[in-house]
Amino acid sequence: MKSWNEVSIGEPGELVSLLSELIVDPEQAPRTYRRLQAIWARRTSEGIELNYLASSGQGEPFKLWRLFVAPGSGVPSLAMLIPLAGSYEREIADLYGIRFEGAPDQRRLVLHEGSRAPDGFLGLAGSYSDPFAFVSTPTEMPRVGGDDLQQLRFGPVRADVVESGSFTFSYAGEGIVHLETRLFYKHRGMETRFEGRSIQSGSLLAERVSGVDSVAHGLAFALACEDALQLRVPTRAQQLRVLLAELERLYNHLQYFGLLSKLTTLKVADAEGHYLAELVKQLNARLSGGRFLRGLVVPGGLRRDLVTDEVGDVLNELEEQAHTYLSALAGTRSYLDRLETTGMLSAQVALAQGATGPIERASGLDRDLRRDHPYSGYDRYHFAVPGATMGDARARALIREHEIFASFAILGQVIAQLEDGPVFVADDSRRSAEAFGGMGWVEATRGTLIYVVYGEDGYLSRVKIKEPSFSNWRVFPYTVDGTNMMDYAINEASFGLSVAGNDR
């Protein structure tokens, strides 16, 4: 395990002092690159193992703190010092029965209030043939303001073809005083679904955590397994993986502009953005047999080689089309007016609440795993990591606009440099026979995606997915409170969030 440095913590009481380097000072502009990435629990023979993962500076290994606690016991909460920790603690409290003492928000998160775990439930173990009993129960809401505030609840079934989630606005006239989001209607327990599966079949599952991030999830999972088994993937497979990952970013970002145009009532721009995304999906289908590029990336490389003859020409044409489309958008005053100063996010809040991907880059935080912790040979390509400091919807769109062209640049280099050779290396080290653990990360369309895998005998025993939307959804309400209803839909679209990824 070279991708992280481990620190064992003896006593829960030492937790706060040992992790003090991650504390976010709300008064200071963020200068540090170090940040909490995820907290997860795992059942072991010695009790429940709590893991705190943080990213370090460019090129440095990640850092992991480990702490063993008895099932059902209490641990000091970090949420008052590192706000992002609060979400992970609530998840662990729901699923592993650990109490986080002093946590400001101890409501249910992943399991809804109506979920009735069996008696004596002290954490997930093994598989369940039937879901827990479920009795519809109102969500526990915070008390907001006085009598002159109105409450508007919508969801989980919302207008248009969108993912399920529930949103409660406390508002006065046009002004929103508070937005309370309730997600996890779609929680399927994807992490536990890996348990007991073979390493090879885990890829298919990872691809189905968040459909529009299939490659990112499949790749992060494969990289984690390769890290655990110390597999070296052939160059051609690495290059083709980059090709797949950037094609996925392209159709996601183009779709994003289609949606943003729709919400700013530009009918032609709406049609054109969605049409360009459709063209990329069709290219995906011709290249891989599937519009979501599934079923290719596996631990060890790719399941089969790809014929890329056509790709270069199609991409050149698409780049030209994307260029004129995005230039026309950037010159449309009515569109810019709706985005500028909408949903402002400061660098401090972005860091404290864990914003990642285009969201943090639009708020002045400069990080991108492809550049800072290269994987799959990204260090072989030249590309710009765009940055902005405004933190509004316009900045978030601008980052994605530049990333589209960065993707085209990477794709061009991949195709020019593509080597011949095998695309798969089998694991003959027999390392998988022993207990293994490993970590893989990917800069997905929506930000930092991390997979941590544990297993033995070639089978997986625990998989943790650190999903970018999990923290971006946490950030989002901070840009809504104090704004107005008219901007809400545009602001939400400018975040480009995935509910499936968040809920898992």
């Binding site: 073809v161 969108v162 929680h187 189905r208 459909g211 049609a271 995304a277 289908a285 449309t332």
Partner: protein, 249 residues
């Protein structure tokens, strides 16, 4: 603003003809050929991540209602008994018709023609509900509105309210918190109403159904009129299923 009017006109018509003759590069779900398997070989069934394959005296049976199109079975079969198809796999009103034993194309989806179908022929309103999908199905349903497929031309529209909806497109394996909202949405629709189980999760749970917080598909929750396989279904097949519902295929 005029720049967009000009762009729209200059772009011309981007919509494809209908019915679709061929969608380039797409493969359908694998089907078993009628050849007999050697005794004792169960490689395909063992490779299947969703237990979609059963083997008995009659040969191989592949349930398209559970197939996620991973093609592992095609890869492991040394006898070429399972092969990918080039035609897209269509919806069926009969759940059992998705359990395929041969490469003989099943009859196209038909419902009992009723006078209601005639009412809905040129104006069909669709409500979608996400019951725990991976967002793949939503991405493809959204694609129906892009200029390439342009579902509007058939008089098919998405509606925000179930009160106006004729059809309910259900995606996902039905997670516990979405069970009651699904039933409430169905009950809010006026009759006649139709339900399409969209994608393998909604049919059988696929890879994502089961566990501590999800059911295994739509069966028994609300009545289903069409079972639409695929992981996710291709936009063309979703359009095909919607048109089949009103007897327009």
């Amino acid at each position: 603003m005029s720049v967009w009017t000009y762009r729209g006109l200059r772009g011309g018509v981007r919509t494809i003809g209908w019915p679709l003759e061929e969608v380039s590069g797409m493969m359908g779900l694998p089907v078993p050929t009628a050849h007999r398997c050697p005794e004792g070989c169960e490689r395909c069934a063992q490779s299947c991540p969703t237990e979609a394959i059963t083997i008995d005296d009659g040969g191989v049976e592949l349930d398209h209602g559970a197939c996620i199109d991973c093609k592992l079975c095609v890869e492991v079969c040394p006898f070429g008994i399972l092969s990918p198809t080039t035609s897209l796999t269509r919806a069926s009103s009969d759940r059992d018709a998705l359990r395929r034993r041969s490469d003989v194309e099943p009859a196209p989806p038909t419902l009992q023609p009723t006078k209601h179908q005639r009412w809905l022929r040129k104006s069909l309103f669709v409500r979608h509900i996400d019951c725990g999908s991976c967002n793949g199905c939503e991405s493809e349903i959204t694609a129906l509105d892009n200029p390439y497929y342009n579902l509007h031309r058939f008089g098919v529209f998405f509606t925000p309210s179930p009160r106006f909806a004729d059809v309910l497109l259900v995606t996902g394996p039905i997670t516990s918190p979405m069970h009651d909202p699904l039933v409430a949405t169905y009950e809010a629709m006026p009759g006649p109403k139709y339900v399409i189980a969209t994608g393998v999760c909604a049919i059988s749970g696929g890879t994502n159904g089961g566990g501590y917080n999800a059911h295994r598909g739509l069966g028994g929750v609300v009545p289903v009129d069409l079972w639409l396989p695929g992981c996710p279904p291709h936009p063309a097949v979703i359009a095909d299923a919607l048109l089949a519902l009103v007897g327009r295929t």
